[in-house]
Amino acid sequence: MLRSEKRSLFRFLTIYLSSTFLLFFLAVFIFYTLQKQEILGQQKSELSSKAHTIEQTLRKLHNTFESPLVYPTYVNTNSAIYNLDKEFIFGTFHPQKIQWHKSIYFEKNKLFYLHKLKPYYLGASYLIVTQPINREPLNKLIQNLALFLLMVMSFFTLLAIFLGKLFTAPMKDSIKQMNRFIEDTTHELNTPISTILTNIELLETIYNCQGKQEMGRIQVASQTLSRLYEDLTYLKFSHNYHRELVLLNLSELLKERLEFFSTLIEAKELNLEEKINPNVVLKIDKNDAIRLMDNILSNAIKYNKKRGTLIVSLTPKSLEIQNSGLGIKEENISLIQKRFIRDNQSEGGFGIGLDIIKQVVKRYEFNFTLTSSPNQMTKVTILWEK
């Protein structure tokens, strides 16, 4: 699955599933609240019934007034009576805190029912009855709702994946077609480019060609095409490509690549400053290192002004390449690191250079920074340390 496809699918799934789940959670929550009210309502009516029974007993005691007045008691139920000034009279329990303004409330897994009495039998104005909440029906309800949510979530996740794939299919097809086109094009480009470059060398060495300047231009154009071929091949096959991590002498490789770009540098009449520390070694695949250096150098040359400056520094800690180009606006710096996006359209290219650099940087966990502002030196720094 492609990166962009993965991202699109992930975004779609996130939005679709979160909104669906939110809706279901809300519905389930409302349903649970209503059901809970009903279940507790049943328990409340049980308590209310007990309160009425106690009230009848209090009335009987009040009317007979035969000592001792035996207070009614029930298994699993506690009750207490309070006078009009809310002072405790008697009871099977003595709660410290009573919510006088509520007829029913819960506290520490207990259901409390406050029953107002009038007339005040035995002086009791309030009768408070309590019993532990029967959590069994509530637990069963929660279990059923959790099961329902799980089923709904599973169903909608599968549906979302199916829909997501359905929606991204046209995009996937387009990308496949484009990749196939690039693959075919690069394949077809390889042979003629190699032929041109070989024959230029032959013309220069064996036949001592007279048109040096024209030959130089042909060589630059062919090298550009050759690099483009390498980049496209790298992008296409970088995921499956088997990397060979070796201790590579970056100093030598950088000099070699500068030699490769010498025709381009000369063509632009650039002032090259080399600050290459000798024998800088790094464990990296050679092709990755070449793609990294080539793309930074290529951009630094391509977007440099004629007779500008190119500073190349290599230390055991970093690679730093500066050029005196037009510079990049701050808001475009992050944008140009995406594939097929370029800040300056005046030069040729597909806008894949920085994308390749970022891929290599990400693979080896290097630290990449690009600092630039219009008409200032543009600096690309890669720190080897993670």
Partner: protein
């Protein structure tokens, strides 16, 4: 029967033998027993209507100072059988103490028991 009840009440009050109880005995229960006026019934009526001792006192003391059928808590039918209350010859302190003792004697908190 009335005499026996009176003697029993007298005995129970005497056991507690303090001044307010003697006053209740002298000022209230003598007449109540002689005229067979059920003091317990009156207390229950007050309790049922006013709930707390403080509230009962607030109603009972003005009534005892100026007893009339109209201000009595008892229904009209009660006075068909029992005579109307006469004004007590007690000063404020004696009246307060007597009422407190009366309420304490019947106090519901002391009478209620757990099974």
């Amino acid at each position: 029967m009335g005499k026996i009840t009176f003697l029993l009440l007298l005995f129970s009050f005497t056991l507690r033998a303090d001044k307010p109880f003697i006053q209740v005995q002298k000022n209230c229960l003598t007449c109540h027993t002689e005229q067979k006026i059920p003091s317990e019934l009156i207390y229950r009526r007050y309790l049922m209507q006013y709930s707390t001792n403080e509230r009962i006192k607030q109603q009972l003391i003005p009534f005892l100072k100026n007893p009339t059928k109209k201000t009595s808590i008892m229904p009209k039918q009660f006075f068909l059988k029992f005579p109307e209350k006469k004004v007590l010859d007690l000063n404020e302190t004696e009246l307060q103490e007597s009422v407190n003792a009366y309420l304490d004697y019947f106090d519901i908190k002391k009478r209620l028991k757990m099974q």
